[in-house]
């Protein structure tokens, strides 16, 4: 330091302030990040070549030679000969243009599809509001209840002059969002209870039940729980009682998600310093007051980032209902592909579906990472 101040008098200010050549500028950046060594240069050249080749062919396939729309015959059947001709070197986005309503909203009556569209927007709004820290208060529960009620009213109808649409006609993105979001909303209270039960010292029998539930569910694949809901659950009900397939899958999701969320919540409970509980005991608070006023508000705040990550997992896992024959987004993609003219354009449909899933998951994971950084910053300060 002293050396720098000693020599500062002799060097003109401008030259001193300018960093030496070769540390900044695009050429220096290239040398540091792409051409650092022989090894690095070789990687850059090979990767650069591969990336350019792939991007060029993708642009040619997806944009330059792509077919964006096709004419319709007199009977309303799409004439896909343009797509068939382009097959192999040009994408057929016309399949998405033709089928996007079916993929997004399923067999919901065509004129009424503004209702599931609003439902999707409601869900997105709900996610955004839940993500904002100024709403992390008890009122958030009311917002969730109100939104989920509104979703139910919009989807079913039958009131306020909306025509009744039973769940047999639901499909597409709303089903995916309903399964994931209702699953989270109902499994969360269950998870909190199970996590508390698993940590209880006074109730060994309850603790054992909770451990059994969590470990069994986490040890088996989701698909077996869904099979249980679709094949075994009807046997559990008295003869004549029919529970709708969607509801059964929803229950399976809640039970499945509950076990995973319980472990997330337990992580938060464990991360809380023991002194908090001891201090609450010293104040003479009862168990429920201690838990509800001291422990949970702090523990749940800690687990929000892993909670979001778990939710991303559920959002992707809802696609498994394809196997038990429910009409979620992925199933609707397959249904759209079963239309004879479009049968051979699965790549385009799968890419369209992937974009939707990526949009939701990427936004959520980006948010969760930012949140993690923020929370850690306030803790380490």
């Amino acid at each position: 330091m002293s050396h720098a101040t000693a020599t500062a008098e002799h060097i003109p200010t401008e030259a001193r302030d300018r960093p030496p050549a070769g540390i900044v500028g695009p050429w220096a950046w290239l040398r540091a990040n792409l051409l650092g060594s022989w090894w690095s240069t070789a990687i850059t050249l090979v990767l650069g070549y591969v990336i350019v080749r792939v991007v060029v062919s993708l642009v040619a396939w997806g944009v330059l030679h792509a077919v964006w729309s096709v004419p319709y015959g007199p009977t309303g059947i799409a004439d896909t000969s343009a797509c068939q001709n382009a097959k192999g070197y040009g994408a057929c986005w016309a399949v998405l243009a033709d089928k996007y309503r079916l993929i997004l909203f399923g067999r919901y009556p065509y004129e009424e599809q503004w209702r599931p569209a609003i439902v999707v927007l409601l869900f997105i709004g709900l996610f955004i509001v839940s993500g904002m820290r100024r709403f992390w208060r008890k009122e958030l529960v009311l917002i969730w209840i109100a939104t989920l009620a509104a979703v139910g009213v919009l989807m079913w109808g039958g009131v306020f002059g909306l025509s009744l649409v039973t769940e047999d006609y639901w499909g597409g993105l709303p089903i995916t969002l309903i399964l994931a979001t209702f699953g989270l909303a109902f499994s969360f209270p269950l998870a909190v209870l199970v996590a508390l039960g698993r940590r209880s010292t006074r109730l060994p029998a309850v603790k054992m039940l909770c451990v059994l539930y969590v470990e069994i569910i986490r040890g088996v694949p989701l698909i077996s729980v869904l099979f249980m809901a679709s094949v075994m659950f009807p046997l559990f009900m008295p003869a004549g009682v029919n529970v709708d397939k969607l509801l059964r899958a929803q229950i399976a999701f809640i039970l499945f998600a509950g076990a995973y969320l319980a472990e997330v919540v337990r992580g938060g409970l464990q991360a809380l310093p023991r002194g908090q509980a001891e201090a609450a005991d010293a104040l003479g608070l009862s168990y429920w007051k201690k838990t509800g006023l001291i422990i949970l508000p702090q523990a749940l705040r800690l687990v929000i980032p892993p909670l979001v990550n778990t939710f991303i997992g559920f959002f992707k896992d809802t696609s498994l209902v394809l196997i038990i024959g429910l009409f979620d987004l992925l199933t609707m993609g397959k249904v759209a592909l079963s239309d004879p003219p479009w049968q051979s354009f699965s790549t385009e449909v799968y890419i369209g579906l992937a974009v939707i899933y990526i949009a939701f998951c990427f936004a959520m994971s980006k948010y969760s990472r930012g949140l993690e950084r923020d929370l850690n910053r306030s803790r380490t300060r």
Partner: protein, 383 residues
């Protein structure tokens, strides 16, 4: 214990009785309903159906199997073996790919770092089932056997799957393998001896010549003494399909591609965060002691990084195993697929699902026990 609400013991007994009672009541209600429903449908409970002839055609099987003769029990056993095979190979491949990508994300090369980051960000966000369906349709869209893609006329990729040369396994190879295992044990023993000697004298005897002699030399000698048999059967195109060689069906290939590519994106993140968790000072301190960069990585950084990596890696291995059940969607016959067919044919829904759950619970418990043992072995010994 006093019979008073203010006594904690009394409260706990009452609460537990109530909660356990409710659970038992619900369970009893379900069991009663199930018994009534099954009686109404004339379905006999029990696992007797496992002894009946299955009649399920199975494409890929590690055991000899004939649908007309063999039982449901054997079909399910084949399913379990298929699941295990997919899980073991998938775990190995996903670990290799994931580790490479995780290290790539830390590369100083900007292009490599960004490309691997792109891989992780996109593939993690696409549901595995969608990826499986995508790969399956891609493989089905490949040209037929006559126009198949080939690698030097040895390996062929067509819409019938991957056709590879098959190695003709003879008893001499089994003996060579046995010799290798013996050599491995001998090398490990020699390594421990070297450790002890280093502790006492400070000089470490060389291990690699012994390792080379025992693990490579011994098997080669055994193999040569038994006549050095070596025969490879190449697949040959005859008519409309290939003959000879081993096959990877499109279902198996698609399942493996999807599972490995998807799981590797998670493993990459685990590896990256594990390596990043090691403070830079550890590298610098080891360098100051005069260790080479390979030694630093093997003896300083990796042992510490593994402590961070092992627990999340365990859950990824478990996830991969459980995710292999999605095979049912593309028609690879793993245990879920065969159990599903079985319960559709016989109506034994409860038994079928119980078998699926028991198999996965056993696999999950075994993997977590093993990984916990390994984790305890490498855990920090606090003195």
């Amino acid at each position: 214990m006093r019979l008073s609400w203010s006594d904690p013991l009394f409260r706990s007994v009452v609460w537990q009785t109530v909660i356990v009672g409710i659970v038992i009541a619900i369970g009893w209600y379900f069991i009663r309903n199930t018994a009534d429903n099954l009686a109404a449908r004339h379905i006999a409970t029990g696992f007797a159906f496992l002894g009946r002839a299955a009649g399920i055609p199975i494409g890929e099987s590690l055991l000899p199997y004939n649908p007309a003769v063999n039982t449901y029990g054997r079909a399910l056993l084949i399913g379990v073996l298929n699941t295990l095979q997919v899980a073991v190979i998938g775990v190995v491949l996903a670990t290799i790919l994931g580790t490479l990508i995780g290290i790539g994300r830390l590369s100083r090369n900007w292009l490599l770092a960004k490309l691997t980051a792109f891989y992780v960000e996109t593939l993690r966000d696409i549901p595995l089932l969608l990826q499986l369906l995508f790969w399956y349709t891609v493989l089905q869209g490949l040209p037929g056997p006559k126009q198949s893609w080939h690698l030097g006329h040895v390996a062929f990729l067509s819409n019938r799957g991957m056709r590879l040369p098959e190695f003709d396994w003879q008893p001499a190879h089994s003996w060579a393998l046995l010799a290798f295992v013996v050599g491995l044990i001998g090398t490990l023993m020699w390594n421990r001896r070297a450790h002890r000697q280093q502790d006492v004298t400070g000089v470490r005897p060389a291990v690699w010549p012994v390792a080379l002699a025992l693990m490579i030399g011994l098997p080669v000698i055994v193999w040569a003494l038994l006549g050095a048999p070596f025969q490879v059967e190449l697949p040959v195109l005859r008519g409309f399909n290939f003959q000879g060689g081993g096959t990877l069906s499109p279902e198996y290939f698609a399942l493996m591609l999807g599972l490995v590519i998807y799981t590797a994106s998670y493993i990459a993140e685990i590896v990256r965060s594990g390596i990043q968790a090691i403070p830079q000072g550890q590298w610098e301190a080891a360098g100051a002691l005069g260790l080479g960069s390979g030694q630093v990585l093997r003896q300083i950084v990796l042992p510490q990084a593994l402590r961070v990596i092992i627990p999340p890696m365990t859950s990824q291995y478990l996830n991969l195993t459980k995710n292999s059940s999605l095979a049912v969607a593309i028609g690879f016959q793993d245990v879920v697929s065969i159990a599903n067919t079985t319960l559709n044919q016989t109506g034994q829904a409860i038994e079928g699902i119980a078998i699926i759950m028991a198999v996965y619970l056993t696999i999950s418990l075994t993997i977590s026990l093993f990984m916990n043992w390994y984790n305890a072995r490498i855990a920090l010994l606090e003195r």
